[in-house]
Structure formats: C-alpha cells, structure tokens
Subunit: 142 residues, 4 copies
C-alpha cells in the first residue's frame, strides 16, 4: 500500500447554512489529494495528459460520518492498495488534523483512457513501475 | 415509487479540459433535482429547516458511464422508492434529453436531523404523508 | 439595447454560513444568463467555438447591495448596450422575481479570441449582424 | 501597507475547455489569500464571527491579463493599503511563482456588519490595532 496525507484548510465558500462543509467539496479535496499523492510518487498528472492519456473518474462513493466546520484543518489520508492495471482505485479518509475521529470515508476510481483511440487502455509500464516503487516504500520522485 | 424529471443545461464552468462535465457537478444537479422533486410533492425544503430540521447527506455513490458535453440539455430522473423512516434514499439517472443512453447513475441518502437535540430523528408524520400521497400517484402540492 | 431576463432558483450549495448566496455564485448566474441571452438572439456559444473562436472574460465588476437567500427565485436582467467590435460588454442586474429592489449589479466584458492565431480579433460580421437585429428588436433565432 | 503572498496550485476542476483557469476561481483564491493574510496579522476570521460580526463582500473588480493553466503554482499577492474604518479594501495580484508577468489583478471590498443590529458598523478598535501593527511591520500574531 502507498499512502499520502494531504492537508486542507476549510474555506468559507465551502460551508453551507448548516455551518458545515457542503458534501460535494470533499470530492474537490480528493482531487487535490490524489494529485499530490501521485506527484510525490513521481507522477505529475500533467505529464499523463502530455502523453495523450486522460484519467477520468469512473465511479466513486462517500460516507459522511461527522461534519467538518469552517477553518478546520483537515487531513485527507489517500491510499493506493494495488498497482493499477486498467482501473486505479483510490481510498480516502478525512480527519481533523491531530484527531482520531473519522469524518468522511470514500473511494474514487479512475481509469487510463487513450485520447486518440477514444477508449480505456491498460496502465503504461512506466506508470506501473512508479506505483511498484512507491508501494515498496523505495520512494520515487525524480 | 415517485419519480421526477429535472432538466439542466450544461454550463461552461462545469466542463473541464477534457471538454466534458467534471464529475463533481452531477452532485450539484442532484441537489437541484431532489429539491424540485420534493417541491412537486408539496415539500419545500425551506419549510423543513423552518421546523428546526436539517436533511444532511449521509452517503452517496455514482457511476460514470458516458460523458456529457458543454451545452448538453440533461434530464435527471430522480426517484424515491420508499416512504422514508429515518433515511431518505434517492436514486438518480442522467441522460441527454430525448436519448436512451444512460450517462450517469447514482444515489444520495439524506436523513432527518433535529437541530435542537443534535441527532437524527424519524421522518415527521406530515412529511411521511406527503411521500405516501406522491407514491400513490394522487399528486401533492398544496 | 438588447435585454433578456434569466431566472435562477438559489440552491443550498450556493449559500454560506451567513445564510446568504456566497458572492462568487452571481458570476455563475451571469454565465448562464448571457448564454441564454445570446441563444435567444440566434447565437449558440457552442457554434462560436466550432468556428475556432473563444470568448474569454477580460474584466468584470460587481456591487452587492442586498443579500439573496436560499430558495429565492432570482431574475438576472442581462443587457447588451452596443453591437460589439472587439470587446463585448454585458451588464447585469439581479432582483428577486416580482420585486423592485436591486440586489446585485455588475458587468462582465468578453472579447473574441482566435484560437489558431492566439490573439483577439474583431467580432465576425455574421455575429455583428445578429446583434444588430436583436438591438433593432427584429428578433433573431435561426 | 501590509502585504502577504498566498500560494495556490491550480486544480483540474478549476480549468475549463479552453484549458485555462475559469475566471470565477480567482475569487476563491482571493478568499483563501485574505483569510491567511488576516491570520498572519493575528486575526482569525472565525473569531470575528464569534464576536457577532460578519464581513460580507460589498464590491469587487477583476482584470484578466494572461491565462493560468492546469497545475500552475500561483502566487496571490494580497495587500491592505489602509487601516480599515468601515470598509476593508483588499488588493490582489496573481502571478506564476517566480515569474514577473501579471496574470490577474483585482480588488475585493469587505465591510464589518453587526449581526444583532443588522447593519454595518465601524471596525472594532482591537481589529484596527492589529492592522496598525501589521502596517508598521511590527508583526502580529498573538
């Protein structure tokens, strides 16, 4: 498993009249979290698109257990459990920094999609290699 | 079952560099769709909050099957399968107006939450009655 | 002058902990309003891009005079005062449906931008003609 | 003058089919920037609301000079030119980190608003004192 913690400060525009984070914004946090998690393993998503690939979202699910409030500092624990073949399943757990209570839990599945051919393809070998290294804890990055 | 069709025109701000609707915006469409579905059965969400209740989202899931594009006119088919007790599960199917292909499918579960007591409560009888009437197809509204 | 009224129902996700529409969302309403105003004069923005043109925003300004609340039905009065040459200035006034009080007032300026050449260009003659007809009140549409 | 640099990484969800940051998102960056600028001078906005005050936006203006792209690291230079009395005018300049070209320039004006009385009020003395210290460059913080 490879995991990465992304931190986000809750903004006013993200909170609703109940005074809590409106439920859709967690998906925005997840996008930022997986982008930084991938960058940390050596894969800038920008370079994925530069190779003619997209990584669209194909499914997702969330469970909201406790609310987050304005100005909370959140930790989004982002984890990749397997080296991807076609699908890239990513799990997320959200907590307030320094607290144990789980606020939100979810997963988002991406796939690799070839822009030219207009269809999903398997993960390129170079990308699989980055995942393998990250999961073996031998780092990544260059 | 009670179902309701909500129409939405895709806006530029909702589309991403792939030229398709960014995945989170379907949840915005779902909020508008369920609000109008509930209004059509005689329940303005505004009056729910005026009674001291909230209806927060407790879980959701989506599957993305085909993309929607800028300026598409979408139909969000919103359906309630049961009269709610504590949870209010709502299903959604998104298609282009006049087309059969399913683009996105999902559900969002709400609950009734008592603001004063700070805890979930059962659906008030008056609200259950509105759902019953709507599901019996005897209309609603006044 | 050509003017067009666009209606929008305020959504929960657009309201903040003050219980009012968060200030940025008026710009979302303005996008929808100008898109429908242009469509009503015979110009679908989608066809503008299909010709190799973009219409990016180059400046904007807003004044917030009174708040709008959850579930308000708003009218966005969208007006074009001149046939555009390079810049397309568009004015907006937001009121609650059926009320005289001005809530928000603003303008957004677009320009015509040639994607190939990577620079602003003058409004194409066919587009100027649509504006002229709309401003003469002789309608538009095909 | 007191100024503060806030950094933001452009996210996919913020970019439109032109491949650039959609114009409204700069206002989201400005909210985060002024929040952190105020926190750095010793004023957490959360404590402002805890005193029964709001700081709504009363006007704003932006000029878009050059586009920002996906994954750009932006610097939002946030500056306060005067100690506020009733209005709090805040200026912003956006550049790519390490580059001189101005991308976007704008201002947003807030005011102090008393929730109980339902009207604007002058800046509280304690808040004016924090601005004075920040502008004299003697720091802030506790």
């Amino acid at each position: 498993m490879y995991s990465y913690i992304y931190r986000h400060r809750v903004r006013y525009r993200e909170c609703d009249p109940m005074g809590i984070v409106y439920h859709t914004h967690y998906l925005d946090y997840f996008e930022a979290a997986r982008t930084e998690a991938l960058r940390a393993m050596g894969l800038a998503y920008k370079t994925v698109e530069a190779r003619g690939l997209f990584m669209p979202v194909i499914d997702l699910a969330l469970e909201y257990k406790r609310p987050a409030y304005y100005d909370d500092l959140l930790e989004i624990d982002t984890h990749f459990d397997t080296v991807p073949r076609v699908r890239v399943p990513i799990g997320y757990e959200v907590r307030r920094a320094g607290e144990a209570d789980l606020l939100v839990k979810g997963h988002v599945t991406l796939c690799f999609f070839d822009r030219e051919r207009g269809q999903p393809i398997g993960a390129p070998a170079a990308i699989r290699a980055l995942f393998e290294r990250a999961m073996n804890g031998t780092g990544g990055g260059e």
